[in-house]
Amino acid sequence: MWNWIQRFSSPKHFYSMSAALIPWFAVSALLVGLYGLYLGLFVAPPDYQQGESYRIIFIHVPAAWMSLFIYMVMAISSAIGLIWQIRLADMVAAASAPIGASFTFLALVTGSLWGKPMWGAYWVWDARLTSELILLFLYFGYMALQSAIDDQRSADKASGLLAIVGVVNIPIIHYSVEWWNTLHQGATVAKFDKPSMHIDMLIPLLLMAVAFKLFYAALVLVRTRNEALYRDRNRRWVRELIKNL
């Protein structure tokens, strides 16, 4: 079993197996995303309170979900890398950080563009917004540690530890709208009751969420392949591969 995991998670094996998957993820992300956009912008009715401005939800909420999801991928991969010394897991974590940071940034800015017409302010220091901003800084911290430490194993240990400790922020973000009085609206989808959202709005929202996930899958594969090439640059499989390029 252990040998099997070792062989299967070798960067060389990953590099040769992953190439075929990328176009499938990329194309399905595009198709699902375009259909979701069509439903969200043309089919879904305007909101009875927020009018047309609510259409920002179709990118804001999937981006915010991705910012949490990618962080969990990063933290879990870091833990696997720390505990079982699986190099591929550290590569996945390092590859995820810039993607997660970009989605976090997108969630913050689209939220601010939605907040201005609805709350009258681009930014308020409320619990949901502040904890999401801390998430962005956690991503930045991970990336800074990765690039500041030359020795790759030490870099993975330090940044991985930061990622794992930062997980404490994830439930804080999720429950912030319940624990504190906040301007941010409460959960409309992820709750035990049935979602308090019209089905014509809910379907494009979920389609966009799926499209963002597929997009991330394609991106993380591409970036992990880059990490594998760079980190194994002195190993024979990379040398032989590069010679044939």
Partner: protein, 60 residues
């Protein structure tokens, strides 16, 4: 619904379309940046291989 009404977004055009434009920028940047990274990494490894071969030639 006509197009000018669609682009007007009930008066929220600036907020809605800035959000969607920024999304497009981030999506494109996420696609381009690893492609550039890959090219740079491969060029760097090629240079390293060349350098090592030169060193070996000099020693011989």
């Amino acid at each position: 619904m006509n197009w000018s009404e669609f682009f007007n977004m009930g008066g929220y055009a600036f907020f809605v379309w800035t959000s969607y434009a920024l999304t497009l920028v981030i999506v494109v940047a996420n696609i381009v940046s690893p492609m550039v990274q890959r090219k740079k990494t491969i060029a760097r490894i090629k240079r390293a291989i060349k350098r090592e071969n030169l060193n070996l030639d000099n020693r011989a």
